[in-house]
Amino acid sequence: MVQILIKNGLVYDPLNSINGEVMDLGVKNGKIVDPSEVNLNEAVVVDASGKVVLPGGIDIHSHIAGPKVNVGRLIRPEDHYLTNIPHKPPFKRAETGLTVPNVFRIGYDYARMGYTFVAEPATPPLKTRHTHEELNAIPMIDKMAFVLVDSNWIVLDLIQESRRDMLTAYLGWLLYATKTYSLKIVDAGSDAAWMIKGEGLSLDDQVPGYNLTPKDIIKAIAESAQQLNLPHKVHVHCNRLGYPGNYSITIETMNLTKDLKIVSEGPALHITHVQFTGYKGDSWGSLESGGEDIANVLNVNPYVTLDMGQVIPGRPATTMTADAPFEFVLYHLTRWKWSTTDTEVETASGIVPYKYKKKSYVNTVQWAIGLEVVLLSKDLWRVFLTTDHPNGGPFIDYPVVMSWLMSKRAREDFMAKLNRKALKKCVITSIDREFTLYDIAIITRASPAKLLGLEKFKGHLGVGADADIAIYDIDPRTLDLSKDYEKVSKAFRRAYMTIKGGEIIVKDGEIVKQVYGRTLYVKPEIPKDMIVEIEKYLDSAFKKYYSISLRNFFIDERELRNPMEIPLKTSLR
């Protein structure tokens, strides 16, 4: 393996509190080492003077793999016509697609932006085998998947019967069986209601067929996650997503942490793509931004984290979510294409292509909400940059979002193109805050690593960390980041150099080497007698509910390309 010495780079490393210091970095055997340990005769020396050195980016919410992405590709052939880049033998494969790119473009574009770690946030347990097949095919990045448990009948049964230890054991078993990393709740209980009644649920409605409310489901699963001591506890997509006035439900969901029995460290709930659930007002016509209210709740509740789900007006998007009732509504707004699927026992889903328009009132408010939440939050370690790719916009627009965060002028220039009437009702026009490179390094590198519990070896540049490094050709000492925001977004779009696992994979924004990252999953420690009990229970449950047998459900370790197991000490007894 090559040794690399990065000289004189301007390093930003929030986890080690390094804020723009000129220093050298050594890379040896895929790890970061002290520069003195690098053998200069063998090493590749990279001159990074006048350039910014950051840890490799981490994206905690991006739909990059799974059956829904594949269906998205199938129903959007027009997404692929003009975006083809032919292959370049011997190492670079052909790329195609914008909102639902092929696996190679996903890996390459993330690498070009200096991202080296991506989490796929929703995979139905039954179809996770497919998700892993696709994750295996994505080059360049490390990845993980979160498993959907919101409307799983077995989960609902166990909550209904108040068998909390069994529920915890089942969720632990499920995480290991599907080789996933965390639990995802989409519109808790709604898919059960969607199948039976054809409608979604609010937080206090009763789930049909069960004596439960979505609140009970979120609480029970969050408490189980506490018991399991998961590094990233629960990823929550709030109820009534996409309906005007849903910001109050989001705030109520955030406040659920107050009733939780918290036994392990770290934030207890992660509210995802908060932009879609931050609408104030009674109807689409009177829509307002609830960003400020959500930011205020976030600032006082240390157990909650959230990500933006920023929309990119002017870009096409393909909305894909397990929230089937919302997609049903969206299809009737757009009247173009719609795909809806039901996965037995577990979840439903829908896919609808959509385009966010600059002059649209609603889309402008959506644009404002995402930015407001992040710009008004006091603790940057609990907010994250995402576009909920491909729901809000493609991930290749992260650099544009960064420029909006870093420069008031960028926001103002963009606001000139947006709907004036909507902007009058938004706080965004009066926010002066501008992020520094250090802040950007926090929300895209350090805090995601911390949220996922990987801060020991990801998201920082200290000795012993994985050598995932991104070097960008900007110099904040000579360049006014606020004025020349276009240069900033350009630099972030095409990294000067990306190093993944000690190998140089991108040079001057071009792929120079194809590598395959690891797939991370957890193995919670469950007592033996509980495993016997849960497998006995599941045997009968599978016979009752599923069309496949328990033995075929389990995904073996050898089905993953480069598995990396993270053992967990749980408080299950």
């Binding site: 129903i75 959007r76 052939p77 027009e78 032919p86």
Partner: protein
């Protein structure tokens, strides 16, 4: 128009794989010397090669700046493998002395293309102007949109004349312009159409004008079947498309109720007696009134 500069582009050998020849167009030739033209890139089965590797090019040593005075003659055995001929051309003329592959005249906005043999699918797809003439038959989706796109993203202006048969989905998603087919056409011609005119002088397979919202589809021969979502409107004595007039009675339908459309489908009365029988009462009623 001043003197024409004619380039003769001749295939050196019969290609075994499809060739993406989108650079053989008056727009890329303008203002270039012959040497530069020989260095234009051509994709041979996905591998980029230079024009001179595949073609002999003969013509003036310097191409004029004016697109309209350039004429390109494409010759050689195996020209049926050439795709994207006249891609995005805005003027000038291309003559193909043989067959061409798919996407001839794709996105063109002016000028003319004459194909002396057969053409592949997507002739004049998404074209915005100009004219295409095909002397023999052609494939599917003449003047159409690409799969997955919204209706109305097809051909928007210009004229396509096919002196032979066409495949299915003629003018799918077209918005304007004119397609004239002197032979027969396949299924679903005028699918998702939003404007323009399609004239099929002979027969047509199932369901012309399905899901159309505006425009005209005229079938002069036998129609295999029409959709039940069409309204019978009237009997017209003759139909005229540009300089072509068809002096026989046509049954006119309003298409297609399933998308609330106001397009019109004309079907020759004599050839389709059995098909129009189900509208017999309505037909007689109208004739009496008239």
């Amino acid at each position: 128009m001043s003197v024409k500069s004619t380039y003769i582009v001749k295939l050196k050998y019969e290609p075994k794989v499809p060739i993406d020849a989108r650079n053989i167009s008056p727009n890329t030739f303008t203002g270039k010397s012959l040497n530069d033209i020989l260095k234009l890139s051509v994709l041979e089965g996905g591998i980029s090669v230079e024009l001179k590797d595949l073609f002999d090019v003969d013509g003036p040593s310097n191409a004029p700046e004016d697109v309209n005075s350039i004429e390109i003659l494409i010759e050689g055995f195996g020209s049926g493998k050439l795709r994207y001929i006249g891609y995005r051309m805005s003027g000038g003329r291309i003559v193909v002395k043989g067959d061409v592959g798919h996407f001839a005249g794709y996105r063109m906005s002016g000028g003319s293309i004459l194909i002396e043999g057969k053409a592949g699918s997507y002739v004049g797809a998404k074209m915005k102007g100009g004219s295409i003439e095909v002397m023999k038959g052609c494939g599917d989706c003449v003047g159409g949109k690409l799969p997955g796109e919204k209706p109305g993203k097809g051909m928007s202006s210009g004229e396509i004349i096919i002196h032979g048969d066409a495949g299915s989905q003629v003018g799918v998603g077209m918005k304007g312009g004119r397609i004239i087919i002197e032979g027969s056409a396949g299924m679903l011609c005028g699918l998702n159409m939003m404007g323009g005119t399609i004239l099929i002088q002979r027969n047509c397979d199932l369901y012309p004008g399905a899901r159309m919202t505006a425009g005209r589809v005229i079938v002069g021969g036998v129609v295999e079947g029409i959709l039940p979502s069409f309204y019978f409107d009237s009997i017209v004595p003759s139909v005229r498309v540009g300089k072509i007039s068809m002096n026989k009675p046509f049954a006119m339908f309003i298409a297609d109720a399933i998308v609330g459309g106001r397009g019109s489908v004309y079907i020759s009365l004599e050839e389709n007696k059995s098909l129009i029988d189900q509208y017999k009462d309505l037909v007689e009623e109208r004739i009496e009134v008239e």
